[in-house]
């Protein structure tokens, strides 16, 4: 009996590495501290009522934000471990197996569990406020999306201490990811973690697509809509077409592994190239859909901090939409070295074509600054850092698109440097700019600028120090995913420099955490009482910070682009704000525990199938079905906030002005 338990535990838990034991201890301790604090301060009820059951887009956005920052930490630690391993030749910090797991989880976490939720955080925190809506189109579904993401991410992260992490790369090409070469739970964690959160992402795409098309304030035609909302719409279009492909691909891989089918192995008539095509038909649009909202953020920030209308609005909209369409015609450039000549030529040209609308956007941002007045606040700093970084990153992207030359760049450090340059310089810088920009709107106080500038410089210097040498390493023939190298290759000086840079970025992140904690502590001095700390242009700045639960006490009527800016110019807002307003009762969605419980059941299902404990998996799925039925039969899913209550709230928080 005892022997059996011991044997089970040694396979079930990841053993044999002191780093992981340390992590085990810290996970247990952190959990205990959280449980203790919640119990001691009697906060369990608060946690359940205010957060776990909420359908308020603002709170869901905050939960996305916290999760994404935690995942940024996890993915960042992975990155630092890899960089430390590569700092010197023949380092023995990590062995091959461990290194392979870490680069797999680093890639998966950074794209799917960091960039995606950070993007959804901004969707949730900003879009309804920016278009003058009281919530998203489907608030309940929005909560479901979040909890699917959350439990998917938890499942994936669990692989670190239980069962073992996946180690076949972030896109897990078969046959390497099939049972022959990757038996055991690691690869199943990958499939189920991504599958569960991917369904949530698809639902979010649908949700915001409908929200933007149907819930804009009266008068806000599409061509009067702020560019961030436009970028979210373009991004949602990509989600709608790309995520179903991911769901199907992972589903087929699961069928291969679980039932022994041959969709992706040749020995039964399938083909691994099907998988590679399918995963990139999702994967390439995926990276564009995370960068488009960043473009949207830059457009808002540039306009606000230069005190100037965005230049070439129509061009910008056209560029956004054309990028979202072009993104579906470039996927083969990820495997020029496998495709045929004609396909290579075609996809090389379509890939380069993406540079055209992107280049136009850069010109439009530049000309927005031109003849403006540039205020160097932290959101603007990140935007200014973005432009040269993205220009160079885009240029190396065009170099990679030159198919015959790509035969020399493919899968080496040149590629690594390129995609980190566009993903960090574009997506991460963009989302940071967005977080700094909308932080006061979300939390009611601004972040300390001084610490923010420290973080900014550390990140930027660190970024260039890390990735410029990697371009050179590519020319020196260093393949990606090498866990070590010898002294004879001449690779170590550049690798060492790169490692130093990675730690500078790590220090930048620590400064950001410090900045947030410091600002929370000193929030009374940093309060945003106006609701409009940057002298903004769009509707979200017309309401108090943080926004009341119903967002707008009276839905504004929009007349022009940058409506709030022109209302301020005309002084209309003061006139309206001064007299007592005629409030009406407001229709709101009720909170619900079902999304959380459904997410929990998905987790159980995913966990069961990961370990191939069918009865656990099936009972999880039954739980999911029961939660759906429970929702189906729920009667009272909405309520009204009375006019008196609205009036009282507005009096308390200073009232809306728009």
């Amino acid at each position: 009996m005892f022997e059996n338990i011991k044997k089970f535990a040694s396979e079930f838990f990841v053993t044999g590495n002191s780093l992981i034991y340390a992590a085990d201890v810290s996970i247990v301790l952190t959990s205990l501290v959280i449980v203790f604090v919640l119990t001691y301060y009697k906060k369990w009820g608060w946690l359940w009522r205010e957060w776990l059951t909420t359908v308020d887009h603002k709170k869901i956005g905050i939960m996305y934000l916290i999760s994404a920052l935690l995942m940024l930490f996890r993915g960042g630690v992975d990155a630092l471990l890899m960089r430390t391993q590569l700092a010197f030749p023949n380092m023995e910090l990590l062995n091959s197996e461990h290194y392979n797991q870490i680069f797999t989880t680093h890639g998966t976490i950074m794209i799917l569990f960091m960039a995606m939720p950070l993007m959804f955080a901004l969707f949730n925190l900003v879009v309804p406020l920016q278009i003058g809506a009281r919530d998203v189109a489907y608030p309940f579904l929005n909560a479901v999306s979040f909890w699917l993401f959350f439990f998917g991410a938890m499942l994936f992260n669990l692989s670190f201490v239980i069962g073992g992490s996946p180690d076949a790369g972030w896109l897990s090409y078969p046959p390497l990811s099939e049972n022959n070469f990757s038996p055991g739970p690691g690869q199943n964690f990958y499939i189920w973690g991504i599958q569960i959160s991917g369904i949530g992402s698809l639902a979010t795409g649908i949700n915001f697509f409908v929200t933007i098309l149907k819930m804009r304030a009266p008068g806000m035609s599409l061509m009067k809509m702020p560019l961030f909302s436009w970028s979210v719409l373009s991004s949602c279009i990509i989600i709608l077409f790309a995520f179903p492909i991911l769901t199907v691909t992972l589903g087929l891989l699961f069928v291969d592994r679980f039932f022994g089918a041959h969709f992706f192995t040749l020995d039964g008539g399938g083909n691994p190239m099907y998988y590679i095509n399918l995963i990139w038909m999702w994967g390439h649009p995926e990276v564009y859909l995370v960068v488009l909202p960043a473009f949207g953020v830059f457009s808002e920030v540039v306009s606000t901090f230069t005190k100037k209308r965005i230049f070439g609005y129509k061009s910008m909209v056209f560029a956004l939409v054309s990028i979202s369409i072009l993104s579906f015609f470039t996927w083969v450039h990820h495997f020029f070295t496998m495709a045929g000549t004609t396909a290579d030529a075609f996809f090389a040209v379509t890939t380069m074509a993406v540079a055209i609308p992107t280049g136009v956007k850069v010109f439009n941002w530049l000309f927005t600054m031109f003849r403006g007045r540039i205020q160097m606040k932290t959101p603007m700093l990140w935007t200014i850092a973005f432009i040269p970084t993205f220009l160079v990153g885009g240029a190396t992207g065009v170099m990679l698109a030159v198919a015959p030359a790509d035969f020399q760049y493919h899968n080496n450090y040149f590629l690594i440097a390129h995609f980190h340059q566009v993903l960090i310089g574009g997506v991460v810088f963009g989302f940071f700019a967005g977080i700094y920009y909308w932080w006061p709107k979300v939390f009611g106080f601004t972040l300390n600028e001084h610490l923010g500038k420290w973080a900014f410089w550390l990140w930027n210097i660190g970024f260039y120090t890390t990735f410029m040498p990697q371009y050179a390493l590519g020319f020196m023939g260093m393949p990606r995913r090498s866990y070590t190298y010898g002294w004879d290759m001449g690779w170590w000086p550049l690798n060492f420099v790169s490692t130093v840079g990675a730690f500078l970025m790590g220090a930048g992140f620590i400064f950001q955490v410090w900045q947030i904690l410091y600002s929370i502590k000193h929030r009374d001095n940093l309060r945003d009482l106006t609701g409009d700390p940057w002298d903004g242009r769009t509707l979200e700045w017309s309401i108090p910070s943080p926004a009341p639960v119903y967002n707008f006490a009276v839905i504004p009527r929009v007349e022009v682009r940058d409506d709030w800016w022109y209302k301020k110019q005309k002084g209309v807002h003061k006139k309206i704000g001064a007299k007592a307003r005629n409030y009406k009762s407001i229709h709101m969605p009720k909170d619900s525990g079902i999304p959380f419980i459904m997410g929990l059941f998905w987790f159980v299902a995913g966990f069961g199938f990961t370990f191939e404990w069918v009865w656990v998996g099936v009972s999880g799925l039954i739980g999911v079905a029961v939660s759906m039925l429970a929702r189906y039969f729920q009667q009272h899913t909405d309520y009204y906030i009375s006019a008196e209550q609205v009036e009282a709230t507005e009096a308390l928080i200073g009232g809306a002005k728009g």
Partner: protein, 300 residues
């Protein structure tokens, strides 16, 4: 934020980065991609240089203009630069910056398409091309010489000034076969043959590497390509035939097992080995297409 400081810091950063890059490599030889030793690599090198120049002509003026704008229009008391907050549209400018990228991309597309097709042909028309069959295994490279009848592991010799048609497949996860100084890479796919033309004009030993992750021993999957004049190459073949053991199916079964091995050479190999490897991995599903491709390549 002081703008002068910003500019200064970025300048220092740039200089530091460039000098580090330059210092780090002791000469061009370590930059294998930039040191072509054959016509294929040379063509790719030329394209790399062309794309860098074209893009630099586009990027550098934009970067300079960007620095100027950030400096000129910073929000500072006493800044007398023009301020036109309502100016948001200019058709002429828009036409210009839609056309500049279109032009750059157009030129680059032309050369890309031209060379994509050019590189699928044998690099030189003169002389008889030779064929070498490459199989990536867990975690080593097997080279079969169908015309000479010998086999090697983890290194391959080729005659100089001869176009070599590498026929690539795998009996393990997907990999990529890359010899930077001779020309780019191609994937090794199970059950399927992909062709890669390479040629060495200079004598020498070239670095080759596995370039698509294939599991635990991937990092160690390096190989050497040794280019020698035809006569010495022929002598080497003879020598191998006289002194080296045969590669039997049993040996292959051992070789195939996951693990690392030293360089090996064999005087012969089972005649159908390459096709058997293909078939075992599902090659029959490709058969009709493959026979066609093979004949067309052999005719070349």
């Amino acid at each position: 934020m002081k703008l002068g400081k910003l500019l200064h810091q970025s300048k220092v950063l740039f200089l530091a980065a460039t000098s580090l890059v330059l210092l780090a490599g002791c000469g061009r030889s370590q930059y294998v991609v930039l040191d072509p030793a054959g016509p294929v690599a040379q063509k790719q090198y030329d394209l790399i240089i062309l794309s860098v120049i074209l893009l630099a002509v586009f990027i550098i003026p934009v970067l300079i203009f960007f620095a100027y704008v950030v400096f000129r229009y910073r929000d500072k008391p006493g800044n007398r630069a023009m301020f036109k907050p309502e100016w948001d549209d200019n058709k002429t400018l828009e036409v210009i910056w839609w056309s500049i990228p279109i032009l750059v991309i157009g030129i680059l597309s032309f050369f890309t398409v031209r060379d994509t097709f050019a590189l699928s042909e044998p690099p030189s028309k003169e002389g008889k091309p030779m064929t070498i069959q490459v199989t990536s295994l867990d975690w080593k490279w097997l080279f079969l010489y169908p015309e000479q009848g010998i086999a090697t592991v983890n290194y391959v010799k080729i005659p100089t000034n001869t176009a070599v048609n590498f026929e690539l497949t795998t009996d393990a996860p997907i990999n990529s076969f890359w010899v930077p100084q001779l020309g780019g890479q191609k994937y090794t796919l199970p059950g399927k043959v992909l062709n890669l033309w390479l040629q060495a004009d200079k004598e020498g030993s070239y670095y080759g590497t596995a370039n698509n992750f294939s599991g635990e021993g991937f990092t160690e999957m390096k190989f050497q390509v040794i280019a020698e004049p035809k006569q010495r190459f022929d002598k080497w073949i003879e020598q191998i035939k006289e002194t080296s053991p045969e590669l039997t199916l049993k040996d292959y079964a051992v070789l195939r097992k996951p693990g690392l091995v030293e360089k090996q050479q064999y005087s012969s190999f089972p005649p159908n080995l390459f096709n058997d490897i293909l078939d075992k991995n599902g090659g029959q599903y490709y058969k009709s297409i493959q026979t066609k491709e093979q004949t067309s390549i052999r005719q070349n």
